[in-house]
Assembly symmetry: C2
Homo-oligomer: 180 residues x 2
């Protein structure tokens, strides 16, 4: 079975291709709307739209940063928050609450054309910390995973990719693919 | 020209029908996705989708609450914030910043099937205040418009409807319709 990863991001594609080694994965770009809703519903809907549009078996991946103090928000709207108030602004927001706990969530929506979409998720608990480290990826600078003493952005990329929410989500996905 | 207001909300429909008196307005329900993005882009996209889906001339309306301290957020995501942290939580959030200024924005997307969508907006500046008054509508309890000493929720509905962001947006829309 050939499956298509809907993404415009070549870096992400390379990382995912490596995690899904042994499966036939190709990159495809599909123009999809950015949707509101719960993280799992968003990826299900996007995978369904992409499968219907292309007639192929596809998956999409979306990432959220959920503040405990805000009951899971900004969540799927984290990109808008990064754009509007920036990484320092996000830290400032979290720091105004006693509970600076957060969860990084990766959600994969998988869909075969004409079938119901499925979801696989990976979650990493952590803390919002003052910005530090490389600025390579959005909010990596302010998220310190539980059990570590540095932010994602202070880790080597290989180190982060071994423990990330995305890694966990794709491992769930891989396990399921292996049973097919 | 008959135009269709895409909404499931009969109350809103009645209010809008009154503002647009003299024009042939009908209510229509269309299943549309909740989109992310800038308020004007969201209603343009939704109006386009609804026009393409129904083949009719349609308009949609969306409302945002934009905090100055958060550079316009929660904005279009205000519904998710109300659901997750509630009205008291939203007040608490605003109150953590020195600037409790906010803008209530109503955006109307209008589209004739096959044509480009248009946008009309109404904005009311105000302050986020401790919750008070009727709980009839979402965040009316915490928004006090500039020049008034009470929250939207403390006004009689006719009083609010005379000065609201929605009224301003629909008056813009009406003015444009009159030139057609």
């Amino acid at each position: 079975m050939k499956i298509f990863f809907v993404t415009g991001n070549k870096e992400k594609y390379r990382e995912v291709k490596e995690i899904l080694e042994g499966f036939e994965v190709e990159q495809i770009e599909v123009d999809l709307p950015e949707l509101q809703g719960e993280p799992d519903d968003i990826v299900k809907e996007k995978a369904k739209l992409a499968a219907d549009k292309t007639g192929k078996t596809v998956f999409v991946e979306d990432t959220c940063l959920c503040f405990n103090a805000l009951k899971g928000l900004p969540g799927p709207y984290i990109k808008a928050f990064v754009e509007k108030i920036g990484i320092p602004g996000l830290y400032e927001l979290a720091n105004k609450y006693e509970d600076r706990g957060a969860v990084a969530v990766a959600s994969i929506g998988f869909c075969e054309a004409g079938k119901k979409p499925m979801v696989f998720q990976g979650k990493v608990k952590g803390l919002i910390v003052p910005p530090k480290g490389s600025t390579r990826f959005q909010w990596d600078q302010i998220f310190m995973p539980e059990g570590y003493d540095k932010a994602f952005a202070e880790m080597r990329i290989e180190e982060k990719n071994k423990i990330s929410h995305r890694r966990l989500a794709f491992e769930e996905f891989r396990k399921w693919l292996e049973t097919q």
